[in-house]
């Protein structure tokens, strides 16, 4: 950081993204309330149970990718543009693997907890839904995140102030929407 930021600086830089995130979060909440989603929640036991874990994984995986890239930018270890090599590539591949692996784990976990709570759940169905949702959101998240970080940095924005809100915003909206897609795909396959 070239100079000392005051609370007001941080507030000013973060507020717009936080507000966008608020709107997007409300949008994600509204998707949750739609009939298609409520039908999905009813027809797929365990879905409401895994929802917070799934949404949080998006934040965890891509939030740490963002924080990593932002520190590397501040330290001058990477350039603020897309380059398919070295540090940047490793960070991208790692976050991709993390997202998929942990989502599949969540599916298995939710299946186990649902059974433990004395209700039936379909392991295969949950795994398909989460795999599809994780794959699609990885593509969407990486695209948005890299664009925002690099473009923002080039324009003098400190990525630290915006990564989290961007990640949770995009993650929640795409996460909930891609769960719906996953439910549809599982319905076709099974």
């Amino acid at each position: 950081m070239p100079r000392h930021d005051t609370a007001l600086d941080v507030y000013r830089q973060s507020l717009p993204v936080i507000l966008v995130s608020l709107v997007a979060g409300l949008f994600a909440g509204t998707i949750l309330g739609t009939e298609a989603m409520r039908a999905g929640i009813e027809s797929v036991p365990g879905l409401l149970l895994l929802l917070p874990a799934f949404l949080a994984t998006r934040g965890g995986v891509y939030g740490s990718l963002g924080a990593r890239l932002s520190s590397a930018l501040h330290q001058g270890l990477i350039e603020p543009r897309f380059e398919w090599s070295g540090r940047l590539r490793n960070a991208i591949i790692a976050s991709f693997l993390n997202g998929i692996l942990v989502s599949v784990f969540i599916a298995v976990l939710a299946w186990g907890v649902t059974l433990a709570l004395g209700r039936s759940a379909n392991l295969f169905e949950l795994v398909i839904i989460l795999f599809v949702a994780a794959l699609l959101s990885a593509v969407a998240m990486l695209g948005v995140l890299l664009t925002v970080i690099f473009k923002g940095y080039r324009r003098g924005l400190d990525p630290d102030n915006v990564i989290g809100p961007v990640v949770t915003t995009v993650g929640d909206v795409f996460g909930v929407a891609f769960l719906l897609v996953g439910i549809a795909v599982a319905g076709v396959i099974l």
Partner: protein, 175 residues
Amino acid sequence: MVRTLVPLLAALSVLQMGSGTVLETFEEQLLEQPSLLVLVPVMIGTAGNLGSIMSARLSTQLHLGLLEFSPNNPYVRATVGAVFGLAATVFVLLGVASWAIGRVLGGTLGLPRLMVITVVSGMVLAVWVVIVSSASVYVSYRLGYDPDDTTIPIVTNVCDVTGVLILFGVVSVVT
């Protein structure tokens, strides 16, 4: 990064089942009052946002060698001040927005009640976010992990679970 994060995220997912169970418990109330259903992702998201701003800033300052862990440190103060300012702004707006959306979707919860729910649970959550973020940056640093890898997942996950608990704690007192 995969080696640090996968076990960590897997462990945190187990923790997340806690908030999932809370949601399942309140399923009927959630379907009855759409305002509350709308609040869930936003509450979870905002806590995560504030926590990640806090911890991303602290860990960058740590990497740059500027951070000392003290409440008197100007970087820490500026960040904490900003987090509270943002929380106050967002949770007031959230009260109004969730009330409006809830009305459209046919809910009956009034504006004053929703404002109390969002502002009280939001500000409690903000205090908690500051504590958890600082603690996790400090502990990661002490244990030799890169705070960039560990803190955001920890903070977002912990704040999700506690966010849902705090939200429904306040809801059950107010409604």
